[in-house]
Subunit: 380 residues, 4 copies
């Protein structure tokens, strides 16, 4: 089945394997007239680049995105935008045992069963490298959203047992540490924790949190195409994610209705430079996480993604090979002890893609607005 | 946008509001030759019927499903199966304040903003009643899955602070208590907890767990159409769900790779009545929850859904009306203090619909199997 | 596969067989706020009702449409509109040979091969009766289009050798004769032709022409989702259609570029009651049939559908039964000698559904218009 | 809207403009295990290369396709296949009047209206060059079909008034002349006709015919996803096509039922080297063009596409510019006086893509076959 596309109106199709000729994405359905340059894409890609950090792989990817179509004189034309990152280094190398052995926690076994064989080089299509296409496309979606007043920001919420503190939380701090944590002290603690794990040839999971601000009210469709349902799919489609929650999330299951309900009230809004006050309906709390009935409710949309620990660890592990023999495997090479810091921008990308698509999809809900769009009184 | 359909090959479209003429669903893409009767549907619908329990609404729904098309001489014909439940009682009644006031935790406000007005009778399309169509369709999917050796079962895992115990867990117990808990003692504790809440005019959230057994290996598509990603969307599309996790889920975020990885080993499988032993690749543990790389890995698929507490509570709540005035609301009538027991079959239905669709979608992954399907050596 | 749905934003799903319990359609994605009543639907359905004409079957269908959901206080709510027509008469009857024998020109053989068996009653799902659902949904689409200034009208262009004359063409005449021909004289000639055919136990094909007026410029998507490509699919999805052409159509194949190109010029347009003149770009001719590059070009969209002769004829025909024996069949009962007059409203319905869907889809092509839609200067 | 994708299971997404950096296509959903090389793609691309013919543009395109992903060790892996053709020559050149003036018969005006501006270089996305992506993808689909015993072949049926003769028809001749006509004499006449047109600075339309052989019976879905409906859409999505017909097509409209119905009979089929005879249901004639009720009926599928004359002609034409002024235009440069010969392989590609997709979609119609696919007696 064709499972490499995502979105309905703003629709992306990714391609490429870890060690193939390149990675790419086609962004179809982006409105015409959006200023877009390769720098816009690069800025996003650089955020998933392994840093100088001891916790991300040293291999210098240095991905360079190229725009091949859909942009003319600096603006999107409304036709498909092809983005491509050529792999710099494709030297054939010795893949050794990985060719035949199923690595625990990886998709080797399921790929072999589904397709009869697999591209074993570096994980092939199930490699984290596949997310480069998502991030490149996410950069376009984020730029579109920004031009409509919508902002998407993700950050590391926890690494193993180390959780950011609500009191110390400071988004400006996020880009200052290598773990993308908006809490300097938590970042230090997490670094120490990761050091220990590395010494023990082990790895850690973590949680990414994401906030979408500025969404108009009523985005998302009732029933199957709820905004939160689509966010959940988008996030669970990222390789190592094992859980998704919005607002009070799993905590809601042990809460009472009187605690979890968000009361509505009116907020006085001053228009810029104006004198008149316009009351606006807002929620006093945000346990809903910014959606009610699957539609955005005007509050920030806040969700979390649980990432499992990196499955590639240097300890001996028990497994089976494709010839049906039990084997022991020790995974060689450098591997990140934690996926989360590099996944922050991937979460942001998937959220931006979902928000952009559902925003565009929401334009047809009311006849009065459609009539105004097509020329108001002239029609009908 | 058209958001009332779900699935690609096995595709359903639901319709109907809480207090309209009826509720229904069209199941399109069900293979021909499946024995199907109204009793098959009814058995599922009865499971979401409010029981004699004090914890579910007394209003006797007594939904009766009718098959209007797609079944001939007791078997599905491959053409769309229309299922319909006429509402028995449509007396116009006084909806009082609900017409104008936005109930906290409900979709009243977002519906009004999205569509300009709303069907305020009993929640309209965002009512829990909408799930009757999903359950009716889920009964068809479950029957199809059973004929292919796949079984889907959900149950109540927790209600507020009361969680089932792994030691006492007994699926046979599930249908014996009114809370659908597979643990008799936990059920008693939960009943006591709910009694307290009702006395306090409050409500509780809870967790539903679901297990899919018998799925062949390799079901689900890499990248965007992962099996777990589609399950997440299916589950989050249910009204009150705030979270989804698979396998070790959110716990994985604080685990180590060495704990969370599932080692592979060989299992001796004796064919029925046979002498030969065939080794089969299996996982020694199931932290993955039955998927690797978004594809089923042969272990049971185990996921959980977090439900928020019923938002309709009899306490006074602060809110706003559609005329932009702050108001206090006290929601009248009987309301369940907990959604979870009635939601168990809805989770099962959405899981069955997803599993059936992805199973059918998986048939085109390998050319060798396609060639065999179309006549082996004759072709090519 | 689920092939009973049509459309992306304005999406319909039909169900029902010829002699089952009923026929229906779910219209999902219709914008909220459109006034809609059962009379709106009935008016369309009546047009495909067999008249008193000698050329349409005497069986009185008298279809009565019921709106089951999606309309509240006389207006669409934005949620799915379920339309249903219960079959009045389901007496089991003797289907005799038709159960086992493949009628030439019908889908009996292909249905049996595809599904293993078939609902043989009156053609089951491949019966012309299936179009009732399309027509009911088309009535909704047509009403939506009218409120946006777009009008869709089809008529009989030819029956066998009898073609309407451009000189005598008068749309007001269409509804005055039983053949839906906008040319009184041609209608008389066609009636005489059909009399002859009936005497000879034979049937005739014909051509339906359809005109869509008032479409804004730029509706339709380049490449695969061209407006004309979608119209072609919509029209070829009607049972007996064997050909589709737009504008100069097949004639274009023997024309020269200098003949077929439509020159552009300016047209002075007087706004109602205004003094200023606004020049508008128009085409001097309309060989293109109202589309250029797959997008509407401002001229009326004009296309034609070729219908084959009714395959059910009372003459003996050579065929095969499902047991693999050669047989002779004489089809009993009254059958229309021509499908075309009853198909006119079906063509109109499919054109309206396509136009409505593509109109709504076109709203996201330009960032400037999207920004204006979401609040102009406030955003970004 | 995202209109650059085609297909459901076997799904392609094309990108690229006439004078941009390149043209490409992503083929998603191709089954794993199909041998595929760049030569397979190149062979198809070369067929749309302008020859040394006087009737096709002299500009040497010499497209070189590169496979960037989805193929490993010479076989498809089941993951997306990215195909790319870099444009060799992107010298900026003087586009002169074309920047501002709407060429008659081209999409300049509709593009400007839809998107607010356009990539005016060589027609941008509406250029015939866009079809290179379709052809590259079509090569993959054709290879898949061949491995399943299905063959797709198109040819020029007519050029202006010159039509091939059924008596002289010889498919082997097709590739011997520059017009892809399977009739040597007609090819000579057509060449002479085109010479005259060129002298008169004019162009010609024509008809392409296509035959699909070897399709199993029952491919295509009833109602909206009929095989012929999808072929119609596929063909009308090609730039200059104005009409589509299958089997007797528009001629059926003036035929009688007794002429147009295809009688069924039995055909004795000898299995290779076998002694037993197996009777097979076949049609004695093929007016249906190989489909009944939208499903393949076992006969060859035969359809025709009407192409309009090349709109680019060297005569002065009346038009309007984007500033709302009437202008005269004389289109410079060499232009083919006929599109048809180069479009033959495009028709073949779109037919192959449609056939491959619908073949894969048809695998889920019967429960008995699905049960056999998933392991027969072991399941259920």
């Amino acid at each position: 089945m064709a499972g490499s596309s995502y979105g309905t109106i703003f629709r992306i199709t990714t391609w490429g394997e870890s060690h193939g000729k390149g990675i790419g994405v086609v962004v179809d359905g982006c409105p015409a007239g959006l200023p877009l340059s390769e720098e816009d894409i690069q800025r996003y890609l650089d955020r998933r680049k392994p840093g100088q950090s001891r916790f991300t792989t040293a291999r210098q990817e240095g991905d360079q995105a190229e725009i091949l179509s859909g942009v003319f004189e600096g603006k999107t034309t409304g036709t498909p935008i092809a983005l491509e990152i050529r792999n710099k280094d494709q030297r054939s190398q010795d893949y050794g045992e990985i060719m035949d052995i199923y690595r625990p926690g990886h998709a080797d076994y399921t790929f072999d069963q589904k397709y009869g064989f697999r591209d074993y080089r570096g994980g092939g299509r199930s490699s984290g490298r596949e997310t480069a296409g998502r991030v490149a496309a996410g950069a376009v979606a984020a730029k579109l959203l920004e031009s409509l007043g919508v902002k998407v920001r993700a950050y590391t919420r926890s690494i193993g047992p180390v959780v950011i503190s609500p009191e110390r939380m400071d988004l400006a701090e996020r880009d200052k540490n290598r773990l993308y944590m908006p809490d300097a002290q938590a970042a230090l603690e997490a670094e120490a924790y990761l050091e220990t794990l590395m010494a023990e040839k082990d790895s850690s999971g973590g949680v990414v949190e994401c906030v979408i601000e500025g969404m108009p009210v009523g985005i998302g469709e009732p029933v199957f195409e709820k905004l939160d349902a689509n966010l959940a799919k988008a996030i669970l489609s990222i390789g190592a994610v094992k859980g998704f929650e919005i607002g009070s999330g799993f905590q809601a299951a042990s809460m009472r209705g009187s605690e979890n309900n968000d009361a509505f009230c009116l907020e006085e809004k001053t228009p810029d430079g104006g004198l008149a006050f316009q009351p606006r309906t807002v929620k006093q709390t945000n346990h809903s996480g910014g959606t009610l009935g699957g539609m955005s409710d005007g509050s920030p949309i806040v969700f979390r993604a649980a990432f499992k620990p990196t499955p590639s660890i240097a300890r001996p592990q028990q497994t089976v090979d494709r010839f049906g023999k039990e084997r022991e495997i020790v995974i060689k090479g450098r591997h990140d002890p934690i996926i989360v810091p590099r996944a922050v921008v991937v979460v942001e990308a998937m959220a931006a893609l979902t928000a952009a698509d559902m925003l565009l999809l929401s334009m047809t809900s009311r006849l009065d607005r459609i009539r105004a769009f097509f020329g108001g009184d002239q029609v009908g």
